[in-house]
Assembly symmetry: C2
Homo-oligomer: 100 residues x 2
């Protein structure tokens, strides 16, 4: 059963293409995380926030990633990490074309 | 350029299959919203929360949906709606297999 992890935190850039260059190695590392199905990278320069939406194959993998990633973000100087883990309602999501 | 809308709110059920039955008509309506690419339906019975992660084709469609949906949730008795809209960093997301 897939689980969704939503993460956001205060962030001051870089943004857009510069963010993509700065975080390419990190994205390649994340692609190999156990149980990761996909991650959408999010950013909002006007609000000064960034984050990610992740789909994992099960709850233990989502929880283990969140614990590791929270520590990593703090090591980058991120002061607070907002995170929630949800089950996915697959029947409703499929009606709305969700890529599960 | 795709925009991601994350929404969650206090929710007391129904959950799982009962939630799917109760919200099937709503999901079919949401599938036809202007600019919606997909929605993942989320739920967490232990935390008493539910929500959705949406991908829209542009910012005006995401903002218009959020305004409408917030009013709808309030009409359902939802006391508070947590919502954030983000740009998607497409280069990083594609490295992590994101379905954009």
């Amino acid at each position: 059963m897939p689980y969704l992890l939503q993460v956001d935190f205060p962030y001051q850039g870089p943004w857009g293409k510069e963010m993509a260059s700065a975080s390419r190695d990190l994205a390649e590392s994340i692609a190999g995380e156990p149980g990761l199905i996909w991650k959408v990278w999010t950013e909002n320069q006007a609000m000064g926030e960034a984050g990610g939406i992740y789909l994992f194959d099960d709850l233990p993998n989502a929880e283990a990633y969140l614990a590791m990633h929270s520590q990593r973000l703090k090591s980058f100087g991120v002061p607070v990490v907002n995170a929630k883990i949800f089950q996915v309602n697959e029947a409703l999501s499929r009606i709305d074309r969700a890529p599960l």
